[in-house]
């Protein structure tokens, strides 16, 4: 890969005596979408939360444009947007207030933030819910607001942790369209997903995690070719079966 934005170097993560990640190495190329796949407990969310600086790693390093993110964590955080799996909007603020607050945290205020809120609300189609409280929104709309919040400060890297989980198929497709649009804008996207069709449609690269290690990384096309399968889902099932047999 060229134009590496983020370099994950031999990252290990221990939770007590159990090892969630066992030396994961991976590069994220600028302006590309990379999907993290794996069965439950493979380490997808652990890895994405380490990259989002939510959790510390035990060993290894993460380099952003060649410099360890831990040297200046605040500077790195200015460059990332994190959309968690579970909606965590402030329930006491309306959608608009949530987004205004997010903008202010990154120094975006006044007309600039209002314009961005208007833009994202239009793009992600939640204009009519701007003055609603998060508790009154459906799962799909909460997810849209979370995506808008993660993008409000125009980050270089967006981490989307299961962004379409439990959403209706048409909403998933709308979000896919939007995520593709982000790539066109040059934003690098790390996508954690359980949906193989989603990974196949969206990803430039797919990284399969298995028991805390990287099983393989390649483009969806190359993987299908190598495993002689027509769908990424079949590749994944074969890989999972092989790893269980070992």
């Amino acid at each position: 890969m060229s134009n590496v934005l983020l370099e994950i170097k031999s990252v290990e993560k221990d939770f007590g005596s159990s090892k969630a990640l066992k030396g994961v190495s991976l590069n994220l190329e600028e302006g590309k979408i990379i999907s993290l796949l794996g069965v439950n407990g493979a380490g997808k969310t652990t890895l994405s939360s380490i990259i989002a600086t939510l959790r510390p790693l035990t060993r290894g390093d993460v380099l952003f444009k060649g410099i360890s993110i831990y040297k200046d964590i605040s500077a790195f955080r200015s460059n990332i947007g994190y959309c968690p799996q579970k909606p965590n909007l402030n329930a006491l603020l309306t959608v608009r207030e949530n987004l205004e607050a997010s903008g202010r945290y990154y120094g975006i205020k006044g007309v600039a933030i209002q314009e961005r809120i208007k833009y994202f609300a239009h793009q992600l189609r939640f204009e009519s819910y701007l003055d609603h409280y998060p508790s009154t929104l459906s799962g799909g709309y909460k997810q849209r607001v979370l995506i808008a919040r993660s993008l409000i400060h125009q980050p270089k890297l967006v981490i989307l942790d299961e962004p379409t989980v439990a959403l209706d198929p048409h909403i998933r497709h709308q979000l896919w369209e939007y995520i593709r649009g982000l790539r066109e804008q040059g934003i690098t996207i790390l996508l954690t997903t359980h949906y193989l069709d989603e990974a196949e449609v969206l990803s430039d690269y797919v990284c399969v995690l298995n028991k805390g290690t990287v099983s393989l990384i390649d483009t969806p096309e190359n993987l299908k070719l190598a495993f002689q399968k027509s769908r990424l889902e079949d590749v994944f099932i074969q890989l999972t079966n092989e790893s269980q047999e070992l």
Binding site: A52, P56, I73, P84, R104, R149
Partner: protein, 260 residues
């Protein structure tokens, strides 16, 4: 610390204060009910049981010193319910600010909320007690020092308590096992000197209770009372408890939440 860190800190505080403004009236009503009940009983009914009328002023200082303690449990409940529920804290921990500073901001927010309520106690208390309490006895400098310190202490105590309360079900245990004895034995209704007269051992044991310094220090600042505990030693000890609560609380939270 960088300028951008301070911008995030300020804006986080601004959001928290905006939320506090929305519940201010409710809190004000609760506070008024508490002050009127406590002072009414202690200043107008208790003298019938042999207490002097000066006890009203004594209790006014105690109420002011301890008011923030009653903000601790609701704030801890909020933190724990967030950890068990939405986890809005996770969003804050990805903002461009060192993670420990997110918790310092919470501490300042809790301290400010406690202070915003406590500042009203003195004028309301004066109206209730009227001739039984003179504002001329208030030492302004000492009052400001103590007021800032004890409110910061309540902020630190909130973090510290949140760091070891397991879940919502354990909050009542924390109140009954720690906060309530700390409050009631912390020279709330009696002075440290009177406790010493009853039992020197208990009085010395009570020196590990931060509330002892807070109530004694506040009474010295407001009433100008004589105490074996010097004002500045009370202020210094309150400050030390603040530092301990903050550092230990954040360290425990770091371990619990496993943040960077």
């Amino acid at each position: 610390m960088k300028l951008t860190n301070m911008v995030v800190f300020k804006e986080l505080l601004k959001t928290d204060l905006m939320l506090f403004k929305r519940i201010f009236i409710d809190k004000l009503i609760n506070l008024f009910i508490w002050i009127i009940t406590m002072l009414g009983v202690n200043a107008y009914i208790m003298p019938a049981f042999g207490l002097t009328t000066e006890y009203g002023g004594f209790m006014l200082a105690s109420i002011l010193a301890c008011s923030g303690l009653f903000e601790v449990t609701p704030s801890v409940s909020q933190i724990i319910s967030d950890l068990e529920g939405d986890r809005t804290i996770d969003y804050k921990l990805t903002l461009p600010i060192p993670s420990w500073l997110v918790f310092v901001e919470s501490l300042v927010n809790y301290a400010f909320s406690a202070a915003a309520m406590a500042i009203l106690i003195l004028p309301v208390g004066k109206l209730i007690l009227w001739n039984m309490f003179s504002l001329s006895s208030v030492n302004i400098v000492q009052f400001i020092v103590m007021f800032i310190l004890f409110n910061l202490f309540y902020g630190a105590l909130t973090l510290w308590q949140a760091s070891f309360v397991k879940d919502m079900a354990s909050i009542e245990n924390a109140w009954m096992r720690y906060i309530y004895p700390m409050w009631f034995l912390g020279c709330f209704q009696f002075s440290w000197d009177s406790l010493y007269q009853v039992s020197p051992v208990l009085a010395y044991l009570d020196l590990v209770n931060p509330m002892t310094y807070i109530t004694e220090g506040t009474r010295i600042a407001i009433l100008g009372t004589e105490s074996s505990l010097n004002f500045w030693s009370c202020a210094a000890m309150t400050f030390l408890f603040c530092i301990f609560g903050t550092v230990h609380g954040i360290k425990r939270l770091q371990k619990r939440l496993d943040f960077v």
